[in-house]
Subunit: 217 residues, 2 copies
Amino acid sequence: MTKTTENTGITSRMAGDERHEQILRVAIKLFSLNGFRGTTTKKIAEQSGVSEAMVFRHFATKDELYSAILDHKSCVIDNGMLPWEEDSVEQKAIAEKDDYNVFYNFALKAMQHHETDEDFMRLLLFSKLEDHKLSEMFFEQFVSPLYEFLGSYIKERQLDGVFREIEPKIIVRSFLGMIIHHSLNNILWDKKRSLLDISNEDAAKNFTEILLNGVKK
Amino acid sequence: MTKTTENTGITSRMAGDERHEQILRVAIKLFSLNGFRGTTTKKIAEQSGVSEAMVFRHFATKDELYSAILDHKSCVIDNGMLPWEEDSVEQKAIAEKDDYNVFYNFALKAMQHHETDEDFMRLLLFSKLEDHKLSEMFFEQFVSPLYEFLGSYIKERQLDGVFREIEPKIIVRSFLGMIIHHSLNNILWDKKRSLLDISNEDAAKNFTEILLNGVKK
DNA sequence: AATACAAGTAAGTAAGCACTCACTTTATGT
DNA sequence: ACATAAAGTGAGTGCTTACTTACTTGTATT
């Protein structure tokens, strides 16, 4: 046991791997709150309960620490499967051409995920504005396949004669627009929910109904 | 004449007001590109073609320079009227209960505006993430009244029995979601338009059709 | 108990930051 | 022509930053 009084949370000396991960966790939090430029290595060290020198023992530069976050986070996504591929409810709805549940379930899962990973959304925004590469990776690995996934289902339903002939990508953009804009409001612009305060379930239900009535023949 | 060789654009000595405004313009550009923390007073001075000391003659602190942007920008908005109030096409459509043109015209004007003022959108995002007050002002002066404006038209059409009984704010969020998310894609995430490349007119048309079919009885 | 190695630190360094001050240049009204 | 006031600068100040170095402490193994 390398920790003293583990239950109190006071740590005096950690194994290398533990400290490594702890510093990373603190860095993610701080980078997502204050951005790359707004986060100092001193603050990271303080919040990790070690000296600045320890931060640089684990990560050669501040940039390397930022890059380590990318690997850490993209590993969570990149277990081979994209979230909608390993979601059995989603796959079942697709197979059954159950339009409502294809879109409802997708919207709900997406918004639930956004809610539990606010840090990542802020990180993504900061990284794009500050021109780091996180957002590009996310785009290629996640957003692009997502347009492909939803787009091809829509095309299928158009061939079935159920959806009107609108460019599928425009329908995808409309639907993702509702979802992402709503999450961004909840996380960033209107945390108090003063403009609109509804559950994820209600949001998913209404967005789905508006979209489906909007595109069905 | 306080400028030498005005046609070449090389300025040697400016009147106080001119320089004041020029420094402000440069600051807006740089703050919107790199954020508050990412912009140095040295860079602002260099791009303005003066020494750093001159920047501080015109603006006592870097914070004051940032605040001056708020005043400058909110004056552009705050001429008393909100954009949709002084838009005669919009007002005509409202009066005639021409649903299509109420939403089409609104979407088109909004996206056209976003396109010509990318700087402001980036500034707004940075200001929210970096926790300055610009975004709050924008929220109160602009976004809140906007929900009121679109919301009350929707309520009216529900009373007319034309729109289905959905919470109007949810419809507003859906529509603004499509528009703002689309603009954000064009300005920030996908400047190359690799996911979707359509004109503002096409986007406005499709978003409006999807929304109206989605909420009409 | 001695060793050896990993965890940890105090006290730096050089560069960059917002901001200042003593001073020089230039246009203009009399 | 010359005084004057405003436009403009170079060379700083003290503080913060990312990063380093030379050193100390703790602990698992023999």
